[in-house]
């Protein structure tokens, strides 16, 4: 019973201290917010880049666009020929309607915004978009061969455009970038995490140093170790809690802000598929966990130093 009263007192002391030392608490919290935000922002960027690369890679490796005068039969013949190849995984036929749909998705708000006038130029009745075949290769190495086949004399006449070369450059760049990021990503993440832990630990140490006279007096008056440590533990936990909540809000805002940018790059559907992967709950959860754990542990360790009276 007495134990509960003590716990209550420790909790109350912590809260009152936080309030009465509010400038100090605010400073420490802000530093933690910046640190936490940096880690999660970096993690998010890494995640988004990875996902973007995967998304783009998953799209057709090669798109074959057809002239308007080519017949459906000719297209299907080509499709079957391609499907018969061992180095091709899949071939999808994209009709004019489907092409329109995809294009509308890509444009997102820009299309539905009637002021643009886009709706007048491209719609169901007046559809200038060509039909195409989305060709997915088994392995990226085979793309060259497939491209060569599509450029051969038999195929060339009906083909209006093969998107290989342009895609290739972009995808290559993306692959290089993601590989690079993957390699250094891990080491950088660990580095960032270490730096953050150090920053948070030292910040809390400084706040406790600022109150070391208090600790000395508490011991002199006969407080047991845990009675002295308790409030500081809780204060550290509160720092962690508060800073991770604030950091999550900022991250959320950052994501919302960057969404239009990503949309224009990848199309609305693409952006959605990437960001849907970012489970906001998970991010907040992880931040909370890191913040709480760090806050509490750091306080605990930092106070011990002063308990040697």
């Amino acid at each position: 019973m007495m134990f509960l009263v003590s716990v209550y007192r420790i909790f109350k002391t912590a809260m009152v201290s936080l309030w009465r030392n509010r400038l100090l608490s605010l400073a420490a919290t802000l530093i933690m917010v910046m640190t936490l935000f940096t880690i999660s922002f970096f993690a998010s960027v890494l995640f988004v880049t990875n996902k973007t690369a995967a998304y783009l890679q998953d799209k057709a490796d090669i798109s074959v666009y057809f002239n308007e005068d080519v017949t459906k039969d000719q297209i299907f013949t080509l499709q079957n020929t391609l499907l018969a190849r061992s180095d091709i995984k899949n071939v999808d036929y994209i009709s004019k309607e489907k092409a329109l749909e995809r294009w509308k998705d890509w444009q997102g708000k820009k299309y539905t915004d009637s002021e643009n006038g886009l709706q007048d130029v491209i719609n169901e009745t007046s559809n200038p978009l060509p039909r195409s075949l989305d060709v997915k290769a088994d392995k990226p190495e085979d793309l060259d061969k497939i491209n060569a086949f599509l450029s051969s004399d038999e195929i060339k006449p009906i083909v209006r455009h093969v998107s290989y070369e342009q895609n290739k450059i972009v995808i290559d760049k993306l692959i290089k970038m993601t590989d690079f990021l993957k390699n250094i990503g891990w080491s950088l993440s660990v580095l960032f995490l270490l730096i953050s832990i150090l920053i948070i630990y030292n910040t809390i140490r400084l706040t406790i140093y600022a109150r070391s006279d208090e600790i000395e007096i508490m011991k002199l008056v006969g407080a047991s170790d845990w009675y002295v440590q308790g409030p500081f533990f809780i204060e550290g936990t509160m720092y962690g809690l508060l800073s991770s909540i604030i950091s999550s809000f900022i991250l959320y805002a950052a994501i919302k802000y960057s969404l239009p940018g990503v949309e224009s790059y990848l199309g609305a559907a693409g952006a959605q598929s990437i960001f849907s992967g970012i489970n906001l709950g998970a991010i907040i959860g992880i931040q909370l966990a890191v913040g709480l754990v760090l806050g509490t542990l750091c306080s605990g360790f930092a106070v011990r130093k002063y308990l040697k009276v």
Partner: protein
């Protein structure tokens, strides 16, 4: 100036009354604290306390005097277990406190009241909270705290300042809070380490009077001080230290240095 003299006269009168054969406290005279050949040396070179041997009995009012560096504060630190002696024994109520384990220290510290020259009050807490803290720390119930704290605040004369913050108090008031806090557990021993060092003359006498009041109720008061006037006026036992040694121990002493 006149207040000064008035205070002094008041105390002198109180002392005189003591002398005039008033009935003694029950079990006064029992030895409660014993120093046996206590040495404290820092880093093998600095001899802070050298061969200290003396006893304190219930009801005594002892002034511990000596120049700076004589060892007064060290002796006090040994009594509060802030430091351990290099050799020798210190018995308090029959128990050798030099052998106390770390986890027993808080319990011992709650039995000895200490006040310091720099008050050592918890910052950003009120008078009430400072005193209550000393009780909270020993798992007193809320009822006990509600009961005792106002009484102690009244004893030291701070009823009208009970909810002032430490930062808002004057030196004299701060020292009263320290005393109140030290009394919270009804200690048998109250140690005052230069309590009036930071106070003006009037506050000084007020504090001494308060200490006297407490002593009359049976608490041993050990007053370490530089203040010659205080020592000479109080006319009680005086232990003089110099260079770590106890050089004089007089029943009705005077400030010798």
């Amino acid at each position: 100036m006149t207040e000064d003299i008035a205070q002094k006269t008041k105390i002198k009168k109180a002392v005189a009354e003591e002398q005039s054969g008033k009935p003694k406290q029950k079990d006064s005279g029992d030895v409660v604290i014993e120093f046996h050949n206590v040495y404290k040396t820092y880093q093998g070179k600095i001899n802070a306390v050298v061969d200290a041997t003396c006893n304190f009995s219930i009801g005594e009012f002892i002034s511990l005097v000596g120049p700076s560096g004589a060892g007064k504060s060290t002796l006090i630190k040994l009594l509060t277990c802030e430091e351990r002696p290099t050799s020798g024994k210190i018995l308090v109520a029959g128990r050798d406190i030099t052998q106390l384990k770390k986890k027993e220290l808080p319990y011992y510290r709650r039995k000895v009241g200490v006040i310091f020259q720099d008050f050592k009050l918890l910052p950003r807490k009120t008078v009430y909270e400072n005193i209550a803290y000393a009780l909270e720390v020993s798992d007193a119930t809320n009822e006990e705290i509600h009961d005792r704290v106002p009484k102690i605040i009244e004893l030291v004369g701070l009823s009208n300042r009970a909810f002032a913050f430490t930062e808002e108090l004057s030196g004299g008031e701060k020292q009263r809070v320290s005393i109140a806090r030290a009394l919270v557990h009804n200690p048998k021993l109250l140690i005052a380490d230069e309590p009036t060092g930071n106070l003006d003359p009037v506050s000084t006498w007020e504090i001494i009077e308060l200490l006297f009041k407490i002593n009359k109720q049976g608490t041993i008061v050990l007053l370490a001080t530089h203040d010659k006037e205080v020592v000479d006026t109080v006319e009680r036992r005086v232990i003089t230290m110099r260079d770590g040694k106890i050089v004089s121990d007089q029943e009705k002493g005077k400030y010798l240095f």
